[in-house]
Amino acid sequence: MILLLLILIPFVTGLISFTWKHSSVKSWALGSSLMTLAIAFIACLVNRQAPLAYDMPWIASLGARFSLYGNGMSVILALLTAIVFPVIFIAQLNKTVEDAHRFYGLMLLSQAGLMGVFLAHDLLLFYFFWELALIPVYFLCSTWGGERRIPVTFKFFVYTFLGSLLMLAGIIYLYLQTPGRTFDWETIRQTGASLPALQQCTVFCLFFIAFGIKMPVFPFHTWQPDTYEQSSTPVTIVLSALMVKMGLFATVNWLVNILPEGTAYWTNTVMILSVIGIIYASLLAMVQSDIKRLIAYSSIAHIGLMSLGIFANDPGGIAMNGLVVQMFNHGINITGMWLIVSMIEQRYGTRNLRELGGMAGSAPTMAIALVIIAFANIALPLTNGFIGEFMLFHGIFQSENPYHITFMVLAGLGVIFGAVYTLNMVQKVAYGEAKTAAIVSDVSKNELFGLIIIIGLIVLLGVYPRLLFGIIG
């Protein structure tokens, strides 16, 4: 029941939002998201004792059930989703959006979809939520965004829709193989594992392209910098902090767990793509002048390390735990990053690094926050970014894969490159002389509140990561 609430609250309040044609819809959405957050906390606490589950018949004729299940990874991601939305809504409090009722309605529907993706224990239900999460985002991107939003949304749509179609084909194939026609996770897992190797490899591809686009894995990533750049900040946050986790989570839950032989066959390919992605995206991040694009490439590099971790398959399972920790922390940090970027854009009227400078003098609190979040982004110890990265590297190194050391060292280059592009950005934004005569105001109260939550989590989870380990179990 707790898990169901996590989906129902945003879903119902989202539908109501569509009819709420008044500016107070902001507070309504914030209230809804805070309620979800409270439930998510409870879910985390309860889930530590015994995994939460919910199950009821859904589409009986197809054998699909409305079945939810909370393992460590899914509960952590639900918690992340529950934290990120109120942070977004708090930051929005002093901003106005056109058609606010539709905006907040779509945001909340997307939240419901995300919750569903992380909690679904039935393959068709999972697919349903996958689409429910994505479709509102198409609207959000195409209605509230930059000048090139229409072609960019179209590109995003083509990419993800292609992935969804392939995934649907894979789902139907697996479904047809199940005894008694069911989408239940456990049955799907047994069915998948018993498939001949060739079939497993083929189905793996169908699923992985969908998930790989969502993560994104090189070379399926080019929708991402464009989409991040053109979307409004709330949508960029949803996309980068949460939606990329759909791809990673699904790869673990619905791919690696389901198709062992297919996974074994494709492991080195995916790992090589991930390593290329880390180095390639890091290099590209170095030459971006738009902060949003820079962070987009930085995020692709980070995701590369996480997808490497999924396939590390080390005997101790540290990489997988590191992945969970890192998914959560990456979501927190990139949310902070986008909040700062949006504040910068609002005040200076540009995101171009060449036109920015001197923020440490004109808006010192913002500059301090930027520096802290930037160092969390490059995994400085005692920030949350370090814990997951350390565990992932450790797991990859301990892997039984014959190329484990090569993979780790090459991925480790990302640690150096990350410092290069992140510190470049900090230097160009915060240091030097101010380039505009305009008087820039420092953070407002609600902005400061959002930043304090993010920075508080960065330090707390960096110093005492056991809070997260407790939830993972």
Binding site: F128, I318, M408, I472
Partner: protein
């Protein structure tokens, strides 16, 4: 006492938090006082720990604070190692740190970022204490990168100057290159031994190579750690950040870039002596890189005109000597030199700060001269520092350097002769610096001359105290020919012992000592002769190459930085935009073309379709629920 060790890093942490959180409203007097008192409190606790361990080596041990990372087989406790080695470093860090804090309250007095400065400085000390206190490599790494952050913030303290922030960026990035080595070394250790805690790892190595672990593995681990040390302790090829780091305020150069942080690499290897004793290839590499750095940096220092740059290259060079000592297995000699170097190099930097303060920010030797008349105390303390670093008998540097050179001779006489050559250069460039600055006649502007003054008491007192330490600090390690008791070696013996260092006969030792002292005196006289009539012609030939630091920065720029940037630009332009995106857009156009045909049949709005889809899916769900209900 041991259980109170957490207080040592806690005091500066509190200082950092208070100054950091309330930087807007904190009055200058209070922030400076708070930071200095925090240091004094840490020093007091460190002193207590030091004497307790001195009286009873068994009083040390591991203090467990909490579980840091605990996941499956990976178990990293947040724990502190209290023993002879760490307690000695605690004393150096908090003691010298306290003096530099006091000095800074005066030096930085008129800076608008005063409170921020002390917050950073306290943070640095906190991180440095974690580094030396950590009971496993992960906690050491936390401190290791933490001091890197502090160094980054303090080098770029005057953030409006682009060259300063470039220097801070360079420092952090070069350190990150080393840090990757450190990480790999740590993962190798975890892979082969399943632990990163000293208390579990080193006992396995004491008896020799453990079963199932090859000599190559030990060499690989040791070399990876050494790569980390190369970054932090500025050794070839990762040294170029340290001279640039002089962009930071001068007390910072004294504390971070001379006395403490840059010696972290020496601490790490001395701590890991059990690993290095089983890794002969890595040991030789450490010795050779150290010696090469010592000579190379000393040669550059000969022709520098910036007072801080001379000291910076001198630091790189002295660190090289410490690595030479580590490489020949004379770990305690390296630690000895860390200690004496902390005294005399902090003294020299603070002295240069006093000079720069009096000169109104001028750092160029060519515009100084005759300052001794106006600033007698600075002059005398600086002279004592020069005598100590040059290795004049009786001063601290003599004892520690002599010990290193003797150990080098025992290993391989070639090491000794090259090391001696470096020591001679040291004597020359230090006294060149001294004579140019304090003797002769003033070469700056009249306005500067008018302003020349001795520094205030808060700056002078630390200078005097450090000068005393620079003179007497060496007596804890008298050479065998003078005394049977080497106090420092005896203190460190339970934790670190020298490995395979042959003892020289007393005759040889006297001979080596006499040779080096004689030549050093000759070099000082030579420096005096050269600087008597200052003549700053443009350098040509080898002198020009030295003045331009062997063009290493230019080399790195052209061989690494520019090609990498070029590659990134090419990838961005061709692989990303024309390549991958070109294909995607092609597919997109195809779809678009197809949908244009379809548009003839339908109304053609993607939005409508999607909306219809959402509605359909929602209905599906609703119907499903209703049927069930």
């Amino acid at each position: 006492m041991k259980d109170l060790v957490y207080l040592v890093p806690l005091f500066p942490l509190i200082g950092f938090l208070i100054n950091g959180l309330f930087w807007k409203s904190m009055p200058k007097k209070i922030s400076g006082l708070l930071a200095s008192v925090a240091m004094l409190a840490s020093f007091a606790v460190s002193l207590g720990i030091f004497f307790e361990i001195k009286n009873n080596p068994a009083a040390g041990g591991v203090v467990h604070l909490f579980d840091f990372i605990h996941s499956g087989s990976l178990h990293i406790p947040f724990a502190f190692q209290v023993d002879a080695l760490s307690s000695l470093f605690l004393l150096i860090i908090t003691g010298v740190g306290f003096l530099i804090h006091v000095y800074s309250t005066s030096y930085m007095h008129d800076d608008p970022g005063f409170t921020k400065y002390f917050a950073y400085l306290n943070f640095f000390v906190f991180a440095m204490l974690l580094l030396v206190l950590g009971a496993n490599y992960v906690i050491m790494f936390i401190g290791w990168e933490g001091v890197g952050l502090a160094s980054y913030l303090l080098i770029g303290f005057w953030y409006k100057r682009k060259d300063y922030t470039n220097a801070s960026k360079k420092a952090f990035i070069m350190n990150r290159i080393g840090d990757l080595g450190f990480l790999v070394g740590m993962f190798l250790t975890l892979y082969h031994f399943g632990t990163a805690s000293y208390g579990e790892l080193f006992p396995k190595l004491i008896a020799g190579l453990p079963e199932g672990v090859s000599g190559n593995t030990m060499n690989a681990i040791a070399i990876c750690f050494f790569i980390g040390a190369m970054g932090k302790s500025a050794q070839i090829p990762l040294y170029t950040w340290l001279p640039d780091a002089m962009a930071g305020p001068t007390p910072v150069s004294a504390l971070i870039h001379a006395a403490t942080m840059v010696t972290a690499g020496i601490y790490m290897i001395a701590r890991s002596s059990a690993v290095y004793n089983l890794a002969p290839i890595a040991q030789s590499l450490v010795a050779i890189i150290g010696l090469a750095t010592a000579l190379f940096a000393a040669s550059i220092a000969l022709k520098q005109y910036d007072i801080k740059k001379v000291l910076a290259y001198s630091t790189v060079s002295q660190l090289g000597y410490m690595f030479l000592a580590l490489g020949v297995g004379a770990y305690t000699s390296a630690v000895f030199h860390v200690m004496t170097h902390a005294f005399f190099k902090a003294l020299l930097f603070l002295g240069s700060g006093s000079v720069i303060h009096a000169m109104g920010g001028e750092q160029d030797l060519r515009f100084m001269g005759g300052l001794g008349k106006k600033m007698r105390i600075t002059q005398i303390t600086f002279l004592l520092g020069c005598l100590a670093i040059a290795g004049i008998p009786g001063f601290s540097g003599f004892f520690s350097k002599d010990e290193i050179l003797a150990a080098a001779y025992a290993k391989n006489p070639v090491y000794y002769y090259l090391g001696l050559a470096g020591a001679l250069m040291t004597a020359f460039y230090m006294f060149r610096l001294y004579f140019y600055t304090f003797t002769g006649s003033f070469r700056g502007t009249h306005e500067q001359e008018h302003h020349l003054h001795e520094s205030p008491a808060a700056m002078i007192i630390p200078l005097v105290l450090l000068a005393i330490l620079a003179v007497v600090g060496g007596y804890v390690g008298l050479p065998e020919v003078f005394s049977e008791h080497h106090l420092l070696n005896e203190y460190l013996a339970p934790v670190v012992q020298n490995f395979d260092v042959h003892h020289l006969t007393h005759e040889t030792e006297w001979m080596l000592m006499g040779l080096s002292v004689g030549l050093i005196v000759v070099m000082i006289l030579l420096a005096y002769g050269r600087t008597k009539k200052p003549d700053f012609k443009e350098n040509t030939g080898i002198a020009k190459v030295l003045e331009n630091k062997w063009y290493v920065d230019e080399l790195y720029d052209n061989v690494i930085v520019k090609p990498m940037k070029g590659l990134a630009v090419v990838l961005d332009k061709y692989a990303e935009r024309s390549g991958i995106d070109g294909i995607v857009n092609g597919v997109g156009r195809l779809v678009s073309w197809g949908s244009n045909r379809m548009r003839l049949l339908q109304n053609g709005q993607v939005g409508t379709y999607i909306f219809a889809m959402v509605v359909g899916v929602v209905l599906l769900l609703a119907v499903g629920l209703l049927i069930v209900g």
